[in-house]
């Protein structure tokens, strides 16, 4: 509806627009039209929006009109409806106007405009305004004409009123007022065809019913929206079956289109097309024919140039192969060497390496110097950092704890560190001199030896001796004073002498020092020889360690014996025994380790151990006369056990005074004899078995077959009690789970007057409470599962741990418990279902393979009434179809977009 309306309006506009344009170029305001309003309304409007003298404001007003009030269709062309002065009446009267004529008219109109340009704008506007009104009103032209005539008649110019129809403007009064069709027709009176024309006009006038006022905008919009909604609803409704199908499908498949597009870089690169200027330029250059050609040619020429002789190539190849094999062999070798775990091997290797380096340093002064430098650096570093002095956190802690307490590894590590420190910080005699004199070298070698072999006293003494010799040599050496040169100058000679003397003294001092050192060394050596183990902790411990294995061996053997004993005794002894044994074992070993020290406590322990063992031995002896310990012991054990058991039985009998329990005992006794005897016989037979006479005695077994008469009688009568007992037990259980309410007790003197108390007894509320509690209990008892079962007690205790296996409430979509419970009755796992069904049972809601792009839904015709089953099939079909489509289509080149609409 709205559409058609709009269309018609558009047409009208088109109709209207053309001629107006032709007539008046540049005056668009003319196109605004409005209805002819009733007088009162107009006045009111004018009062509300007083007309300004400004041009723009007027226009605004016009616009307001146009916007708010009119919406209107014009049926007559302007020329016909408008009897404006500007239109040439004669020309207008012409029924069919020739083309050229109209052109003339346009030009004349222009003239008119130019003529009017001199007048004030307001008037012009007003005139146009009036024109518009006339054009747009539905009021018949006659009426309009009449009015104008009236206006013509009373030629009163009054400016007091605002301009309006009743207050026409000047030009209107001058005769430029609106002209009706009648006016135009009048001169044609009598001309042939006039009557026809008049009839037509009359007809037209009759026909033209006033169109109803357009609907308010809000309503119109509402209607439009409604229509639009209907349309869009229709549009959407066609998707409904598809959506429904997807919604109802247990599984939606998205893995139908498996074409993943580009698979290789090459494929992507081949698709590349230059787009930007730059790319195009590059492409043109790269794919330039000339360039290509040149490249090809050049390449071939280059290849020609590249020619190498076969021999050269062979040679090179051989060389490379050799190198490679050598490298490989070396690698293998080093790998092999690295894998060797032997310490001695590595030590030897290290030694070799050192030797090699030392020889190198001997041979090569540069290397020696480097080595010296390195050592010097190391030394300096040590002096600066004092890294090995024992100031680190770790060593401090170890010292704090005491070195003796540490294990061997730590101790050696600490010792190593100290040694290293000593080595590095010791003032070196020869290292300072970087020269490569032989003596220095030797000392170097010594040093190296010292490094490698650690502190060896013999070496040290040797070193001292060497030093001594050297100093003596120095002392012995005559000072050869050069006779010539600068050094021969007297003051130089004096200086030299002085220096030599100082040096000699120093050498003497050094000698003394050396001697004292060597003495010390010798002393210490002697001491070492004398004392096997000086009293410093480490050494002692090591010594004891060496001894320890033996002792531990001893203890082990002891323990073995002991453990044997232990196992033998195990049957008769209690649990605490083995622990004790272990204790003893430990004590012993510790004793043996402390081989030297005589500790009274330990001694005591030892003696205790001995005592223990003695006791045990004694026990053993007492228990078994023969040498076979274990087996006899087991017999003994079984004996004690028997005794114990007897005692226990007696106890049990004493402890069960009540009748039912007594019957239990009796029954047990009745039931048991066979077994009991059996077990007794076990013990016996065990003894036999151990002795190696493995014989069974079926006689004994058969003898339990017949119980005595008394027992049979008891058995017969036992049954009578059983039910009562059970009933009692049930009652007990019930009482326990739902305790009986306490009987109301009245404390005399409380709550009531004494005389009332006596008369009335318990107060009613108490009784009531009691009653209600009783009732409650009975009700709950009735509700029990075993309420109707005399011989069954079902525990109503709630298992708190099992509570987590239940759901607290029904899961969401379910509303009834039964339906839910039935829905979970079937197991879903592969163990419980055939392989054909497992997949369907456990399929997820959405099937999708990673990397697959999910495309938006495409429209397809779906029969909304077909069942889900078929739909799934159709879905599969569709899948296949899609596959084929994708295969047939462009092979994965199209760009996939997620948002289609």
């Amino acid at each position: 509806m709205a559409e058609t309306k709009r269309k018609s309006r558009g047409e009208a506009k088109g109709k209207r627009g053309k001629p107006s344009k032709k007539q008046k170029k540049g005056t668009d305001t003319r196109e605004r039209k409005g209805p002819r309003l009733p007088n009162a309304l107009r006045k009111e409007l004018e009062r509300l929006n007083p007309v300004d003298e400004g041009f723009g404001s007027d226009e605004d007003q016009e616009e307001v009109y146009g916007r708010d009030l009119y919406e209107y269709e014009e049926e007559l062309p302007e020329e016909e409806s408008k009897k404006n002065r500007r239109y040439d009446p004669v020309e207008n009267l012409e029924y069919q106007m020739p083309e050229e004529f109209e052109d003339e008219n346009v030009s004349s109109d222009d003239d008119n405009d130019t003529r009017n340009a001199g007048e004030d704008g307001v008037e012009d506007e007003d005139e146009e305004d009036d024109d518009g009104r006339q054009r747009t009103t539905r009021i018949t032209s006659e009426a309009f004409e009449g009015k104008t005539k009236k206006k013509k008649n009373n030629v009163v110019i009054s400016e007091a009123y605002p301009e309006s129809e009743y207050n026409p403007t000047r030009d209107m009064l001058e005769g430029e007022g609106p002209v009706s069709i009648g006016d135009l027709l009048d001169p044609l009176h009598g001309v042939s065809g006039y009557s026809k024309l008049r009839k037509r006009i009359h007809h037209l006038e009759k026909k033209s019913v006033p169109t109803p006022a357009p609907l308010p905008k809000a309503d119109q919009e509402k209607l439009e929206r409604k229509a639009a909604y209907e349309k869009s609803k229709e549009e959407l409704q066609k998707w409904e079956p598809i959506i429904k199908r997807n919604r109802e499908a247990p599984t939606i498949y998205f893995d139908d289109d498996m074409d993943l597009g580009f698979s290789t870089v090459g494929a992507i690169a081949s698709e590349f097309e230059p787009r930007t200027e730059f790319e195009k330029k590059i492409a043109s250059l790269v794919y330039d024919d000339q360039v290509m050609e040149a490249h090809q040619k050049d390449g071939s020429r280059l290849l020609e140039l590249n020619k190498v002789s076969a021999e050269d190539e062979k040679d090179r190849h051989n060389r490379m192969a050799k190198m490679r094999s050598l490298l490989f062999r070396h690698e293998m070798k080093s790998k092999h060497v690295k894998k060797i775990k032997s310490k001695t091997y590595h030590r030897l290797l290290k030694k070799d390496r050192l030797k090699a380096s030392s020889t190198q340093s001997q041979m090569d002064p540069e290397a020696a110097k480097e080595l010296a430098m390195k050592q010097e650096y190391e030394r300096a570093k040590e002096r600066m950092t004092l890294r090995h002095k024992g100031s680190s956190k770790w060593t401090k802690r170890i010292k704090e704890r005491g070195i003796d307490v540490q294990d061997e590894g730590t101790r050696t590590a600490i010792a190593e560190q100290q040694h290293l420190h000593a080595l590095l910080t010791r003032k070196m005699n020869s290292m300072k001199d970087g020269s490569s004199s032989s003596s220095d070298d030797s000392s170097d070698e010594d040093d190296v030896d010292v490094y490698s072999a650690g502190s060896d006293q013999a070496r040290a003494s040797k070193l001292l001796e060497k030093a001594k010799e050297k100093t003596l040599n120095l002392l012995d050496e005559d000072d050869e004073v050069p006779n010539s040169g600068v050094l021969s100058l007297p003051f130089m000679v004096r200086g030299l002498k002085k220096r030599n003397e100082a040096a000699a003294e120093e050498a003497k001092l050094a000698l003394q020092e050396y001697e004292s050192w060597s003495n010390q060394l010798e002393d210490s050596n002697g001491a070492d020889n004398a004392k096997v183990a000086p009293p410093s902790g480490r050494m002692v411990f090591n010594a004891s360690k060496k001894e320890a294995p033996e002792s531990s061996n001893k203890t082990k053997s002891d323990n073995k014996i002991r453990s044997d004993n232990y196992y033998g005794n195990s049957d008769s002894e209690d649990d605490f025994k083995p622990k004790e044994n272990v204790d003893i074992r430990e004590d012993r070993s510790s004793d043996l380790q402390n081989n030297g020290g005589i500790n009274p406590v330990l001694l005591h322990k030892e003696s205790k151990n001995h005592k223990d063992s003695l006791f045990k031995n004694f026990d053993d002896i007492v228990q078994d006369p023969g040498p076979k310990t274990t087996h006899e012991v087991s017999i003994f054990a079984s004996g004690t056990w028997k005794k114990m058991k007897g005692g226990n039985n007696a106890d049990a009998n004493v402890n069960k005074p009540t009748r039912p329990l007594e019957s239990v005992v009796l029954n047990q006794n009745l039931q048991e004899p066979v077994k009991e005897l059996d077990e007794d016989s076990d013990a016996d037979s065990e003894g036999q078995m151990v002795d190696g006479i493995l014989t069974s005695d079926p006689k004994v077994e058969s003898s339990y077959e017949l119980p005595s008469q008394a027992e049979i009688i008891r058995q017969a009568f036992a049954a009578d009690d059983v039910e009562d007992d059970f009933e009692k037990e049930k009652q007990e259980v019930l009482n326990e789970e739902n305790p009986e309410p306490e009987k109301p007790v009245l404390l005399p003197g409380w709550g009531q007057w004494t005389h009332v108390q006596k008369k009335k007894g318990l107060p009613s509320w108490m009784l009531q409470e009691h009653e209600s509690a009783k009732r409650m209990r009975e009700e709950t008892l009735k509700k029990r599962k075993d309420a109707h079962l005399k011989r069954v007690i079902i525990s109503e205790k709630l298992d708190k741990k099992a509570e987590k296996l239940y759901t607290k409430s029904l899961p969401y979509p379910f509303t009834s418990k039964e339906v839910y419970e039935q829905s979970i009755r079937m197991p879903l796992g592969p163990e419980f279902n055939p392989a054909t069904a497992v997949g369907a049972l456990n399929r997820p809601e959405v099937m999708k393979k990673p990397g697959v792009i999910i495309k938006p839904i495409e429209f397809e015709e779906v029969n909304p009434y077909e069942r889900i089953e078929e739909q799934t099939q159709s879905g599969k079909k569709q899948k296949k179809r899609n596959k084929s489509k994708s295969n047939s289509g462009k092979n994965g080149t199209k760009v996939k977009t997620k948002l289609k609409n």
Binding site: V722, I794, L810
Partner: protein
């Protein structure tokens, strides 16, 4: 429509119907209960989902039924008598003449006269057997090739042997403690806590070793982690009758007062106690489907009990003694006294057991234990002179499921299965009388508190009741209208008071709870945005 057979003839409709009926029965079995009733459902979506589900279930059941009907390699059967023949008259010798060599091989007697009555246990696949002689003889046998795997002498009384989850481990109840050995006879554990155990049972789905000791203490030990799961005093005296219900893992004990008590590891009281016999209970057995229990009492009665539908009366009472009872996989019941073994069968399918077969071993042999071998038609009998094995046609499940138990298992498969079974190990709390209830809605506890509306309704009723009472006519001075109105109001207030007090108390409780909640939630402001917002209650 008929189905074409090989010879081209079309199967008669009657046969078809028969087959379809049979299939229907099987389908019903595999459907595991009633179809969901979708009639009353209002939620369309749920209805649709459930309908799809049901259809899938139906298909699955159909497929399973068909596979069971047509694809299983072997079929079970029973001895069938012709004419005046009676099945229980058929001797083992005559059976041996008829059967194939392989089956005939499983008829034998092992005579070990010295080491006392033997107790037996089979692995779940029936491949291995453990035999325990009372006088300390333990042996593991491979029953497929009749070879001895390992034999040890523990030099102690052995009361019971039981395999753990596979043949690699077994437990033996010895004189003072139960021990766990491996297949090589190495002692792995000594379970001292258990004490002198009389009977051992292994719950293979839960990996629990249950034991009852001389002082009547029931213990459950987890054999995977080694923890003692439960330790309960039964308080019903010493017993050596203990059996696990294979269906739900509930341990049943038979007591001297004729009661059977059923236990689970998470409850210190018996789940169920039932007075079964008038005399002491001597033996007990459970049907593999867990719905049937057989007990034997000293008063020469054997009773069959329905465990799903508890009643005071047994399903069936059979005369006779039994020192040991056992159900086979197919539901045959073996009972034995002294040297006589009887097999009973539910021939009609109505749980009415009749005599099926009998067997007598040499007089003087005391039968200690009868035990059907799984997946074989074999009954093992442990007695005082060793053990014997006889053929009982129709006792074992003819088709084994290698997912469940595979008699031809390789060591690799065994390892695999061990891992799987460990992964599938059930926690002890899943043991309950009706395990199908797991996952359902928690049973409602007794309602203790009234709802607010109920409370108000009660109050109103009380007020109405009070208002109806006509006030007493008092003496002149006391019967003023003002006093009467006052009295009326008082009565009403009194009637209301208890309810109001109750309400107040409840509100206080709620307030306290709220306070607690508020106290609990005290996160630093920076973290508060991560805490889940609770709807204000």
């Amino acid at each position: 429509m008929g189905v074409k057979q090989d010879d081209g003839s079309i199967m008669p409709t009657s046969e078809q119907e028969k087959i379809s009926d049979e299939l229907d029965i099987r389908v019903k079995k595999f459907l595991r209960g009633e179809k969901t009733n979708l009639e009353g459902l209002q939620d369309k979506k749920l209805k649709g989902q459930l309908a799809v589900r049901e259809e899938l279930f139906g298909k699955s059941a159909q497929a399973a039924a068909k596979a069971e009907k047509w694809l299983l390699p072997s079929e079970g059967g029973y001895l069938e008598a012709e004419g005046i023949e009676k099945t229980w008259r058929i001797k083992q010798e005559s059976i041996a003449r008829e059967v194939d060599i392989l089956s005939a091989r499983s008829q034998y007697d092992i005579v070990l006269p010295d080491l006392g009555p033997y107790t037996l246990d089979f692995t779940s696949s029936g491949r291995y057997m453990a035999a325990g002689g009372r006088k300390g003889h333990l042996a593991i046998l491979d029953m497929k090739n009749m070879s001895l795997v390992k034999e040890i002498q523990v030099r102690e009384t052995v009361r019971d042997v039981v395999f753990l989850h596979n043949e690699l481990f077994f437990a033996a109840a010895q004189k003072k403690y139960p021990y766990i050995y491996n297949r090589d006879g190495t002692e792995l554990h000594c379970l001292k806590e258990h004490g002198a155990v009389l009977r051992l049972q292994f719950l293979k789905n839960h990996f629990l070793l249950a034991s009852i000791n001389k002082s009547g203490q029931l213990r459950y030990q987890d054999v995977t982690m080694g923890g003692m799961v439960a330790n309960y005093r039964t308080g019903l005296g010493r017993t050596d009758v203990m059996q696990v219900n294979p269906y739900n893992g509930v341990v049943a004990l038979g007591h001297s007062l004729g009661t059977v008590s059923m236990w689970k590891p998470t409850s210190s009281t018996a789940l169920l106690k039932r007075l079964c016999h008038k005399g002491p209970i001597t033996a007990m057995a459970f049907h593999p489907n867990g719905h049937l229990m057989a007990t034997a009492g000293k008063e020469k009665k054997i009773m069959l009990w329905d465990l799903r539908n508890l009643k005071d009366e047994p399903l069936q009472t059979l005369p006779g003694n039994a020192d040991t009872l056992d159900f086979s996989q197919k539901g045959l019941l073996a009972r034995s006294t002294s040297s006589f073994v009887q097999i009973l069968r539910d021939s009609s399918g109505t749980q009415n057991y009749n005599n099926y077969m009998t067997h007598k071993i040499i007089k003087g042999y005391q039968v200690e234990k009868v035990l059907f071998r799984p997946y074989e038609d074999v009954l093992g009998i442990g007695h005082s002179m060793g053990w014997s094995s006889i053929l009982i046609p129709g006792s074992g499940e003819p088709n084994f499921d290698s997912w469940v138990a595979n008699p031809f298992e390789t060591s690799k498969q065994r390892r695999e299965r061990e891992v799987h079974s460990l992964l599938d190990k059930l926690p002890p709390e899943t043991i309950m009388l009706n395990p199908t209830k797991i996952g359902t809605v928690k049973p409602q506890r007794r309602k203790e508190k009234k709802t607010k509306e109920e409370n108000e309704a009660d109050m109103e009723a009380a007020v109405e009741a009070v208002k109806g009472i006509e006030p007493k006519k008092k003496t002149k001075g006391r019967n003023k209208p003002s006093k009467r109105t006052k009295k009326k109001q008082e009565i009403v207030a009194n009637a209301k008071r208890p309810f109001l007090e109750e309400q107040k108390k409840e509100e206080e409780q709620v307030a306290r709870k709220k306070q607690k909640v508020i106290e609990q939630v005290e996160l630093p402001t920076s973290l508060q945005r991560f805490s889940r917002k609770k709807s204000a209650t």
